[in-house]
Symmetry: C2
Subunit: 192 residues, 2 copies
């Protein structure tokens, strides 16, 4: 938690009260590998996670039973089902721990209310959201213009240590290919 506070403080001042409030609406928790933090379809989503350590992923299962990974959540990243929270609908995504993970659990509504009480948090969130938008734009452009093999290369650069925590099919479903295709891509790379 201190880690998050320091992160925010590195860019701006924070009153003691504002800091205290953040503690009040959150809870540090450790979950074991395989734990499902949000279940696709559950009636409401009211939690947002800040990852202190470990690795999570958010994904959806389509009508054919195939999984599609939207995001990996590693150290210092936020992860939740923003679609469900923003549209106030049932969970469109599942979130699970790919290894034992320590996260700060925020109540989504209380986190959202923090700004009426402590507008000083606004710039931090604005910056966070902007960065998020930019990375999503990049991801869409990559998906449009790169081959599966190129996307895999880029993925390895962006998440250099993640392969120890993930199954190949997690990565495949993030890249938008089948696990068999990813396997073949890996073989090709080794050959070269």
């Amino acid at each position: 938690m201190k880690a998050l506070i320091n992160k925010i403080k590195s860019n701006q001042d924070l009153s003691l009260e504002a800091e205290a409030y953040l503690y009040a609406i959150s809870e540090k928790k450790t979950f074991s590998k395989g734990t499902v933090l949000i279940k696709q379809g559950q009636a409401t989503v009211n939690k947002i996670f800040f990852v202190l350590d470990g690795c999570l992923r958010s994904y959806c299962v389509d009508k054919n039973g195939k999984e599609h990974t939207l995001q990996f959540g590693i150290k210092d990243w936020w992860i939740s089902d923003y679609i469900a929270i923003h549209n106030n609908e049932s969970a469109t995504l599942a979130i699970e721990c790919l290894k034992e993970s320590t996260v700060i659990v925020f109540n989504a509504k209380k986190l959202n209310n923090i700004f009426t009480q402590f507008p000083e948090y606004e710039p931090f969130l604005r910056n966070l959201l902007e960065r998020h938008v930019v990375s999503l734009h990049q991801r869409i452009l990559n998906q449009l213009q790169l081959t599966a093999s190129e996307r895999y290369d880029l993925f390895l650069k962006q998440y250099p240590d993640i392969e120890q925590f993930t199954r190949n099919y997690h990565i495949a479903s993030y890249l938008g290919v089948t696990q068999e295709s990813l396997s073949r891509i890996r073989v090709e790379k080794i050959k070269k």
Copy 2:
């Protein structure tokens, strides 16, 4: 411009000074079809556009000369090259008018500074960014799980009137297929 102000006011109060400042940093302009507002590769991007009327699109040209459309900008949408602005690098995208369009041109830096002077704008922007993130999440999930034909159906639902302004290859490059493929998809739909 009044349209934008009213949009903001529908969710929150706005002081007269804040309103005046918005006028001060912006300029209403009309561009004819084909006008390029941002050119891919240009040294700096310092403009953000709010669309009052018309239709724009942002796209990049890859190393093989193929175009990839990131976004269409229609009435009430914001459009710019956020990647370039946020990373402070040269333009990664081009933005062009697909028909005669009237937009409010904002200076990106001044728009960003508005929050230090008028924090009352923060909630508006936060909401805007959140909505944007959610729609990008949706787009990525759609790209991962839907066929080209399904993505086209969805596109027509989301942009019901856009076909009058766009060339087929604009839409194809947004969906991530070639224009020939889109043409075949259209034929299939008519058959049914």
